[in-house]
Amino acid sequence: MTSVLESLNRGLHAAFAQDGRVYLIGEDLLDPYGGAFKVSRGLSSQYPQRVWTSPVSEAAIAGVGAGMALRGLRPVVELMFGDFSTLVADQLINSITKFPAMFNGAASVPLVIRTPMGGRRGYGPTHSQTLEKLYLGIPGLRVLAPNTLSDPGELLRRAILEQDDPVFFIENKVLYPKPVLDAEALADFEIQIADGDFAPTHTLRLKGAPAPQLTLTAYGYMAELAREALTRLAFEHELFCELVVPTQLAPLPAAGSLEPSLAASLAQSGRLLTIEEGTFSLGWGAEQLARAAQQFGSRLLAARRVAAAEAPIPAARTLEEAALPSVEDILTAAREMV
């Protein structure tokens, strides 16, 4: 099976092959290195004119990408670690996402900023964070987080070539070596796919399972842990869940409603458990639960979050494991809800 890393690399190669307006800017991109996580490997050899290895200047390369996008190119900016996205926040908030609307629709910024996020690699407090929640809710910014249920590289290729608005593309770094799952790997599950306005949402339940008592929702790497938890809850505890995995984190549907697949699952189960690797408060899960409360009112029987500790992510393996949400945390929360 293809790994997430290989898939993303193929997606970039496909975008470069398909459209001469695609450029890549980032740090340490040149072969044989091909970027710190190797997602960009092979591109600098094949497209030396369009792959620009840059100084350690995250804000400037995001701005340069924005300028290129403003003038009709389709640049991709690679940030070596998602933690460094804070250096790009001004460009993202005050220019990249502002230009299309504040210039009265007369400008567009088809820029993809892609970056790895997440822990479990022992990189410590400033190279392990899941910071995308800081960038959810910025008007005009599409935030995508691929998973193993559909082809991450194809999503990236489409984001580069088909999106006329800026995209923040989050790659969980523990997902890179994981296989993109084929039908055989997912044989135990009944899967429904909703297309969304750009990126799919997958709903999974075990084949032959009774109506769900609980809805789990997770994205990126946490969807892997949630899938494992869903299976164990069924076989070890006879607790039947549905798992809803969005690929697009923002924008959400207008008027405060849930993504339709999530709403459909919740209409059956009445219970919602959100699972994320970002810190607990004021995050992605909080927004899902707020929308669930707004949409379902007293029909919402139980609502909880599993998330990371509200502390810097420790470098020590044992402490890092304790700080980040695990399958066991999901099992415990789920059992307390039903």
Binding site: A59, A60, L70, L73, S95, K98, P100, A101, F103
Partner: protein
């Protein structure tokens, strides 16, 4: 490249910017506008002198103090008044306001320094596309406090971006004098990155125009970055009424360094008066038209920024 503009044409532009900005400052207290503004009075020769040498398709990036750049670029007075008034006919339909303008290849943003990497990106894009367009980026001395400017100078030089950095050093950032904000030499900042720099101490539009013509010709020939540091004067407040300087000092600056007075000497009095009278009429007419223009439709925001 355009021919060197004649003295009358230069004076007309200087005077148009001055009359526009004076009209803005006069009308603000009467409630004609909403929000704030940053006027260009005293710095007119920079925009007029530099932008006299633009070609069609060249890109201009400006800052919060952008009215003069916009007018010198060829922007419409009624559309600019309307933008400040929040009218549908404004440059950006009322969405941008005084410091966020975009028309043709002109862009401005009010976050200091943020435009530097974007402007470099536009210059690199045009070079990649094989067009002849170059980018002119206006920065004030205040923007030189922002780190992203230096990242951008480094990248512009490394990657040979066809861009002219124009620093308008008006010696004051909001209320903070330059000597309290900037260490070292202003020109040396560019030289350190291998960017050729010319520094001028003048409000004389003919001299600035001549220097800009030379710099832009070199830039077009080499397709590599250059810089022009223009030491200048701001006669007005930072925005509307926040000038903390001694009025006597500003009066002294005006007497000695007003770019309009300096250039008026190049024209017969009758010709100068005729220009002034025509411009007065045009600015007043643009203001009246903008005032009569309708506000944006209530659903306009949803059209450009779908929920």
């Amino acid at each position: 490249m355009r021919a060197m503009p004649d003295h009358a044409a230069l004076y007309r532009q200087l005077y148009t910017i001055r009359r526009f900005e004076e009209t803005v400052l006069d009308a603000f207290p009467k409630g004609a506008f909403y929000g704030t503004t940053h006027t260009y009075i005293g710095q007119e020769a920079n925009a007029v002198g530099v932008l006299a040498h633009l070609n069609e398709g060249d890109i201009v990036f400006s800052n919060h103090r952008c009215h003069g750049h916009f007018i010198a670029y060829g922007g419409d007075l009624r559309a600019l008044f309307a933008e400040l008034m929040g009218k549908a006919t404004g440059v950006c339909g009322g969405l941008g306001g005084s410091q966020h303008l975009h028309w043709k290849d002109f862009y401005s943003n009010g976050v200091l320094g943020s435009t530097a990497p974007i402007a470099v990106g536009t210059a690199l894009a045009e070079k990649q596309k094989g067009s002849d367009a170059i980018t002119v980026l206006f920065l004030g001395d205040g923007a030189l406090g922002e780190g992203t400017v230096y990242e951008s100078l480094n990248i512009a030089s490394l990657w040979n971006a066809p861009i002219l950095f124009v620093v308008e050093n008006n010696h004051i950032a909001q209320t903070t004098p330059t000597e309290l904000a900037l260490a070292g030499s202003l020109a040396a900042r560019f030289a350190a990155f291998g960017i050729p720099v010319v520094e001028m101490d003048s409000n004389d539009v003919a001299k600035i125009s001549s220097a800009a013509q030379h710099e832009l010709a070199e830039l077009r020939a080499t397709r590599t970055p250059r810089a022009l540091v223009l030491n200048t004067t701001r006669f007005g407040p930072h925005s509307k009424g926040d000038d903390t300087r001694d009025p006597a000092y500003i009066e002294e600056l005006r007497t000695r360094l007003d770019p309009l007075t300096l250039h008026a000497a190049q024209l017969p009095a009758s010709e100068r008066q005729a220009i002034e009278s025509e411009v007065d009429t045009a600015v007043a007419a643009a203001y009246a038209q903008a005032e009569a223009d309708p506000p944006p439709p209530a659903n306009h925001l949803a059209k450009v920024a779908p929920p």
